[in-house]
Amino acid sequence: MSPRVRVLLFALAVLCLAPAFAHVALHLPRFGAHPLPYGDAINAAGTRERHVTNMVSAVNFDYRGFDTLGEEFMLLGAVTGTATLLRGTRGERKEVPQQVPGRPVRARSDAVVLVARLMGTTTVLFGVYVALHAMTTPGGGFQGGVIVSSGLLLVFLAEGYRGWRRAMRSEILDACEGSGATLYALCGFASMLAGLPFLQNILPLGKVKDLFAGGLMLVENAGVAFAVAGGFAVLFLEFLEETRVEADGDDEEEKEA
């Protein structure tokens, strides 16, 4: 199909769908005045039933906890697939940064190193804070995990590739990723061992507005935080490895082989 035909088909499809869209948009409830029965029910009952104040976490880890299990394994699947694809063609070797000829590599300035060191640690700490406060204030394992991993990127900016690579052991990150997802699944089976439905809360719920209220939700949240932080760190590691090339000197290669 030539590009012009494709665009023509697209325009035709838009023309056909436009009246339908206009009809739907005009008949939808007004923005800001939707009936939200399910959300209202959770908002009304969530704090009383689950002793947590962040309803988004309550939905994620309790009311719709089974969905999150699926999402957890989608994350695991995507990260495993990416790592397999990228590692498969690489193998063990001695590496140097890849360079485009005729483009000088400038050294990092001291200002960048200083700011990145300060902000890197602060961001990682903030991510842990966000992950810990899942049950009370905005936050949770998903958000905390990605914030921690973006803090790790700042560490990369501060320490350069070699220093960063020394700190980031891929075995530990893989273990974080896998064990986080496993922990979530085990939470579900723990309820089943107690004779209750999958993922039913079996731990004491604790006091409302307490940092450690929520019972089993806390364990699930920790599992998600580890899986997300580990997963994103694995992704960064694998993609940054792609920018390295084999060192010149085939004799070293042969020694390794």
Binding site: M1, P3, R6, V7, F10, V14, F21, V24, A25, L26, L28, R30, F31, G32, A33, H34, L36, Y38, G39, D40, I42, N43, A44, G46, R48, T53, N54, M55, V56, A58, V59, N60, Y63, R64, D67, T68, E71, M74, L75, A78, V79, G81, T82, L85, L86, T89, T137, P138, G140, F142, Q143, G145, V146, V228, G231, F232, L235, E238, F239, E242
Partner: protein, 123 residues
């Protein structure tokens, strides 16, 4: 006040229009893309249209966030749709990473990232 009313009506249609626009412009750019990395970027625009739609549907005028730490439980925006979008934002990023890994493999094997030059449909 007809002008104010019309304006109010327009703003209440705006979220659906923005969502549809993001979907449309993203699909158009995917169709005409000449670079796979660009194509994946456009896919993330298409994805963001669903975030806009879901959060706009869950919004309630004048209501607060569904977090009852500093105010008592009661009327708030919809936490279910927020939980949906939250997980999708994070999972979507890892799926995008998977697509990027496929693109890297493609470039290693075929030496080009132009969909027009690869033409799997013609063979």
């Amino acid at each position: 006040m007809p002008v104010g009313q019309a304006l109010d009506h327009a703003t209440s249609l705006l979220p659906w229009c923005v969502s549809a626009w993001l979907l449309g412009v993203g699909l158009y750019a995917i169709l005409t893309s000449r670079h796979f990395v660009h194509l994946i970027g456009c896919l993330s625009v298409v994805q963001s249209s669903t975030y806009v739609l879901l959060l706009a549907a869950g919004y309630r005028k004048g209501a607060q966030a569904p977090i009852f730490y500093s105010h008592p439980p009661g009327i708030a925006v919809d936490p279910v749709l927020q939980a949906l979008v939250l997980t999708d934002v994070v999972i979507g990023a890892t799926v995008t990473a998977l697509l990027l890994a496929l693109v890297l493999q493609l470039h290693k094997r075929r030496g080009t990232l132009d969909p027009e030059r690869l033409r799997p449909m013609r063979r």
